[in-house]
Assembly symmetry: C2
Homo-oligomer: 140 residues x 2
DNA sequence: AGCAATACGGATAAGTTTGTCCCTATTTGA
DNA sequence: TCAAATAGGGACAAACTTATCCGTATTGCT
């Protein structure tokens, strides 16, 4: 496991939140668990872009940060379930607000992100299909 | 300037927010500008841990993302001021909520962050039991 | 017998962000 | 005259995160 060499600054609330929410997929992992996707394989189907390896790593960190619990059922084939802790649940309204803000401003955000020169050209454009109908009302 | 090789996924609102808010100092930069610290030197005094170099880089990104504007006064010594755009201001309530959540839970957050083994050594003991009772059941 | 599904993680590579070091310039004040 | 304040940025190094590739194991279906 990677060990940090630089101690993070933990001066204010924002720093602290950063520490537990930083991670490319963490917020969405929390959201999908909140939606009832408890098993790793379900989560991976919901977030196809994440690899299983990284999904495991980030779930482990969420666990260490007491955002989720993990239950391993000693059956074969293996079965594992994650759940939000009470603490983790207190984050859900925040995540929802963030997602809603992103949705409200999605055209503008997409524009400023794509027109920024940090992206390497050649976007295959229109890769996406976006949302499953059940998700239409939610931040995604 | 660094150019990304991997196109980020921009499927949902949360992805989009991630793109513009990701960055170790960005949220705090926005907050301090909101509080009236407009000049780079003021911002650096507010966030001593960030280097000037990185502060400039992140300010530039916020500018590209239309979160802040930059005004250069042609005087000597140089004078520069940043301000939130109307768009940037719509983020402030969100940032405030996040910070408040972090403040409310700061003891717990500090504990789980510090007791986590990703931090390099030398934290004054405090064993930390964080039981993983279910773990023992499977051979992994 | 072979393969998919379930799940985990070490070693290593690639990608990305952040930090360090150095250079540019002018004015004011010690 | 020299230091400090103001602001910017190129080249590079270090730190950190994420991805790839492999290996472990069992059950059940074809």
């Amino acid at each position: 496991m990677y060990v940090k060499k630089i101690t993070p600054s933990l001066n204010c609330g924002l720093d602290l939140v950063g520490e537990v929410l930083y991670g490319k997929w963490k917020i969405r992992i929390l959201w999908f668990i909140h939606e009832g996707n408890r098993r790793p394989s379900e989560l991976q189907r919901k977030i196809p872009d994440v690899t299983r390896r990284v999904l495991n790593v980030q779930l482990k960190e969420l666990q260490d940060h007491e955002m989720v619990t993990k239950t391993i059922y000693p059956v074969m084939p293996p079965k594992v379930e994650y759940e939000l802790t009470a603490f983790g649940k207190t984050l859900i309204p925040l995540i929802q607000s963030i997602g809603l803000w992103g949705d409200e401003h999605q055209e503008r955000l997409r524009r400023v992100i794509l027109s920024q020169n940090k992206l390497s050209s050649a976007r295959p454009e229109e890769a996406y299909d976006v949302d499953e109908p059940t998700r239409a009302l939610l931040p995604f």
